[in-house]
Symmetry: C2
Subunit: 322 residues, 2 copies
């Protein structure tokens, strides 16, 4: 297979490139390096079956040209900056919704019909049902990020219905592991490097969230796509929640991180059950559908957080990037 | 109240302008006249409280300037051409999703925080639950039109959450009545004018659909907004299905139309349970939520179809417009 990966220099995109290359596939990687990291591609660039194209998803002709000859698209490029959407509302629309439309149009122009898409559990808003299944009640969007992702999902589904695409939509919890460059472990570790005796925590620390280790995430995506459910189903688009079969509290994660670092910082909570406007105090996805395909997460949330921390300790350069 | 209406020269927009003006409100109407009809504004233009601004929703500075001083926005402008979305996939994205974003940004720039939005029952795709309630299972989109509308809904909801807007999202069935310019009654009447002995019907005629008379639709919108549910609710955006508490088959509608015209045409069915790719063979919305506010439809579907036909007979100029 010759795969096209958008956001190839990002956390998940670069990890998928390495995985696909290690299995003998060819990969064309696409990134504008607005948040992508050159070092994440060091491994891939040593592989003769990897080709990197620098470009912007809003440049449809360049995107269409880069995609020529590929068999499937992994669309991971996104503005993943959930918290600050309200400061620049056009960004999610352009970089997530319009970008996804361009990816679909570039595929159509090239006759490529298989797409995997990184959506988010945030599309459930403040879910009425927890753990939240894929067919939860039609949600109310609570962030521009999630609104832009649900728009991307709808576009993919309409292309599957109208143009015969096969679409695999994955609603991720927060992903952890090597090459993780933003999120609470990143924030906490950076704070504790600066002031080991003091940790400022958004919200009241009781927020419950689920996470998934990046290699487990990649395994799930490839497992589902190999099973080809979207080619066989009534709807040629299929939606899968991806997450661990557990959740933890912010304070659990703080305990694991501090224990690992040998620190006992004073905790300062900013208060309130939400860390920011649009934050969801309880995210836990029902993953029975993906588990029914035979996939299982290998790492617990605690193990994922500790691997993330260990990687950040060895790669402190990423802390200076933001 | 000084209301801003996008798509003011359209079927629903012009009808809402007349209604609001008749109740003593001021109206600023906005339309690019790509599908809007000058004659629909004849009544409004005689009212000194009406001002028309010609412009395109994709021109954000002009939209922002036009909206200055208004209190609430009725966002009805849309590419409503559901059937032909696959022929020009950018159109729904630009004219529905991006346009809605521009309307929200223009509101934010002007400090206007109340919006009513014409969404569609098509966002439920091929609903698993019929009659379909607002909190039906998270649907799969089956048309670019519905995908663009669900994207608009998500944007409005995120603006309500993030910027304190009050949003009233109405998921319409097909609307009927005076100034109706496209849909099956239009198609059938135009055909029967050309060849009274023969009627070509998309699909097998068994498609079941619900409809609502335009004046009932306007009453429902204003009734819900006056009740102010979105100001009081947990979510400052509220979603309401709008439709009649009944449905009919295509063949029922043909019967009423032909009886009224005194014709007995030979029926030619194109076959299949869907009239076109993305057509939904059964649309019937659960309207218990809007009925719980005290609103009731005054006209039956049959009465709505007959009023539509009578209006088309008196206004055959619209048949030449498309």
């Amino acid at each position: 297979m010759k795969a096209f990966i958008t956001g190839v220099a990002g956390f998940i995109g670069s990890s998928m490139a390495d995985r696909l290359l290690s299995h003998g596939n060819a990969v064309v990687g696409w990134d504008d390096f607005s948040t992508g990291q050159e070092p994440f591609l060091e491994n891939a660039r040593r592989d003769p079956h990897f080709r990197l194209v620098r470009g912007d998803n809003l440049d449809l002709p360049a995107l269409t040209a880069a995609m020529a000859g590929c068999d499937a698209v992994f669309h991971f490029a996104a503005n993943a900056d959930v918290r600050f959407g309200l400061e620049h509302p056009a960004k999610d629309l352009q970089q997530n919704t319009v970008a996804t439309f361009h990816v679909l149009e570039a595929m159509r122009a090239n006759g490529i019909k298989t797409i995997a898409f990184s959506s988010t559990g945030s599309v459930y808003g403040e879910a009425a049902v927890i753990p939240t299944p894929e067919d939860a009640p039609f949600p109310v969007q609570t962030s521009l990020y999630a609104a832009s992702k649900v728009a991307g999902e709808g576009l993919i589904q309409a292309y599957c219905e109208g143009y015969g695409f096969a679409g695999y939509i994955f609603r991720f919890v927060s992903i952890l592991g090597e090459r993780y460059t933003h999120g609470h472990v990143f924030d906490f570790y950076r704070q504790l490097l600066e002031h080991p005796d003091h940790l400022r925590v958004l919200g009241d620390g009781t927020q419950r969230k689920s996470y998934l280790y990046v290699q487990d995430c990649l395994s799930a995506i490839l497992h589902v796509m190999n099973a080809g459910t979207a080619r066989a189903a009534k709807h040629r688009s299929q939606v899968y929640n991806l997450g661990a079969p557990e959740y933890c509290r912010v304070t659990d994660s703080i305990g694991w991180i501090c224990e690992s670092l040998g620190l006992q910082p004073r905790l300062e909570f900013t208060g309130g059950e939400r860390g920011w406007v649009g934050d969801n105090p309880f995210i836990f996805l029902d993953t029975a559908k993906v588990q029914a395909t035979g996939w299982r997460a290998e790492l617990s949330i605690r193990e994922g957080i500790l691997r993330t921390l260990a990687w950040l300790q060895k790669n402190e350069w990423v802390l200076a990037q933001r």
